[in-house]
């Protein structure tokens, strides 16, 4: 029965997307154009520069294109589904999360799991096309591929908890859209979505090592393109796992505190 509840909660977003073909077409068009533009930009930049910041053209293009594909994992049109925490807080419907036979923390995690699996299908299909078209390079060895997959999974867990922190912030602040935008911006900038972190100054990369954002995307992508050697992978995986544990404990604490703040209409 628990499995059935979990399945029903996890499939909400994918089902919503599958019943909106125009939205899926939009995702397909946007993803295609974005991949073409990003690959063209980096290829164009490398026209007269064979190596930059220690990265070859192939490494830079692969990193940038994979970053675009990976960013699809959590970028669904959740707002249209009216099931974001900020919308529930705005309309006062967050209270229903506390009236179901499923804890809000579990419901949130299951919804995110469904979204990430659905997003992964898009990313995987995009990766297969890019690989076949020669836009991205294949991993150098089976070991690199294995470590990359493990690192990507850990990175997605870190990303889930970072996004959860954003959602949990809604319980404490009436207006928090600016703070959310700032955190999303920091996540994109410091994870390598805008540009591979290897191109940024040394002080910026040092700063990034103390924050969880680079663990979401920069680490798995750097392992894939060979900027982080396999010998350094255990340390990087351990750091990612450390962030997962730390953020999980913190968000679990926040769920307990958040529950005390929820009141139904009328108090």
């Amino acid at each position: 029965m628990t499995v059935l509840h979990a399945w029903r909660a996890a499939r909400v977003t994918p089902l919503g997307e599958l019943h909106a073909p125009h939205r899926m077409t939009a995702v397909l068009v946007r993803l295609t154009v974005q991949v073409v533009l990003v690959a063209s930009l980096w290829n164009g930049l490398y026209d007269r520069t064979p190596i930059s910041a220690g990265m070859s053209r192939e490494q830079a293009v692969t990193y940038a294109v994979l970053a675009v594909l990976a960013s699809r994992l959590r970028e669904l049109d959740q707002y249209a589904g009216r099931d974001t925490v900020i919308q529930h807080m705005h309309f006062g419907t967050i209270v229903y999360w506390y009236l179901r036979p499923l804890s809000p923390a579990r419901y949130h995690a299951l919804r995110a799991l469904g979204e990430q699996v659905y997003g992964a299908a898009w990313a995987l299909a995009g990766y297969a096309v890019c690989l076949a078209a020669g836009v991205v390079e294949p991993p150098r060895s089976a070991a690199v591929a294995g470590v990359f997959v493990l690192s990507l999974l850990l990175g997605q867990l870190v990303l889930y908890h970072v996004m959860l922190l954003l959602d949990q912030m809604c319980f404490w602040t009436v207006r928090n859209s600016a703070a959310m935008l700032i955190l999303i911006f920091a996540q994109n900038l410091m994870s390598g979505v805008y540009a591979p972190l290897w191109f940024f100054p040394a002080w910026f990369r040092t700063l990034s090592t103390f924050l969880p954002f680079q663990a979401t995307l920069n680490v798995p992508l750097s392992l894939y393109v060979g900027r982080i050697e396999l010998s350094d992978a255990p340390l990087q995986l351990a750091i990612q796992a450390g962030w997962v544990v730390l953020l999980h404990l913190f968000t679990r604490f926040l769920w307990r505190r958040a529950a005390r703040r929820v009141i139904s209409q009328g108090g």
């Binding site: 125009h22 164009g44 049109d77 249209a80 600016a178 935008l181 540009a195």
Partner: protein
């Protein structure tokens, strides 16, 4: 005159309402600034790591993001509420606006004060000062006038793009998805010389999604790269005119879409 007075009073009240949540107010200014700083960071990274961009030197390249940012800041300040119209439609706000004795478009623009525009414009002005101080161009009256006209044209072109998406949102609320993508595209690919891209891709960003006309073509004409843009010189130079025409067309589309708006209950 009465309409202007009402618009001004509503704007002042909106500004005061934004001040009610002081932290959010300051963060909104910060977010405007931070988004724009991201463009500067990316441009700086590219300029320092690669030998120029598309044959442009760094001072000329900087004029593109500076122009785009200023045009964008003005758009956010004056006409930017078109960007979030999907939410107004979802929440049924448009139905309320239709009952009031004020044009719906004006009511949308007076929905709230765009605090983030303060941050946008502050950073854009800073970048423009930086770009101008590095510039070797002779900033005579003609060039300054053309530049100001280009800023207005860029603002109107961006407004036209978002108004077109907003018009689509009136029929298909999820079309709002495209406005976020459009903003992302403008922020990244609207800030660099497009001749660094393959011709077909540059053509897409010129004739498909005309973001080249916002800042790239005006900056190319001002810096003497107007003949190397891949389009006739006169077309690149006429970018501000295209902005005006596109905005007028977008407003007609908005009016037509509003006439055919049926609301959530049909």
């Amino acid at each position: 005159m009465n309409a202007v007075r009402i618009a001004w009073r509503v704007t002042c009240l909106n500004f005061r309402s934004q001040l009610e949540y002081r932290t959010e107010f300051l963060l909104m200014i910060a977010i405007g600034a931070i988004w724009q700083v991201s463009v500067i960071v990316f441009a700086t990274v590219l300029l320092t790591r690669f030998t120029g961009m598309g044959g442009w030197d760094s001072s000329d390249v900087l004029l593109i993001p500076a122009t785009r940012m200023l045009a964008h800041g003005l758009f956010v300040l004056v006409l930017g509420r078109m960007h979030g119209i999907g939410r107004f439609i979802q929440e049924g706000q448009i139905d309320v606006y239709l009952l009031r004795p004020m044009p719906v478009h004006r009511q949308v623009q007076l929905q709230y004060f765009p605090t983030n525009a303060i941050g946008d414009l502050t950073v854009a002005t800073g970048l423009m000062i930086g770009a101008l101080s590095r510039s070797h161009l002779d900033w005579n009256a003609g060039r300054i006038t053309y530049f100001v006209v280009c800023l207005v044209g860029g603002m109107l072109l961006e407004a036209a793009l978002f108004t077109a998406v907003a018009s689509a949102s009136l029929r298909f609320p999820t079309a709002d998805y495209w406005s976020r993508w459009l903003e992302e595209l403008l922020g990244t690919f609207g800030s660099y010389p497009l001749n660094v891209l393959p011709r077909a891709v540059g053509g897409l960003l010129t004739f498909g999604i005309p973001l080249a006309f916002v800042a790239y073509f005006p900056a190319a004409v001002l810096t003497g790269h107007g003949h190397d843009t891949g389009v006739p010189y006169w077309l690149a130079a006429a970018s501000p005119v295209l902005g005006v025409l596109a905005y007028l067309a977008a407003r007609l589309l908005w009016r037509w879409s509003l006439d055919h708006y049926t609301g959530v209950n049909g």
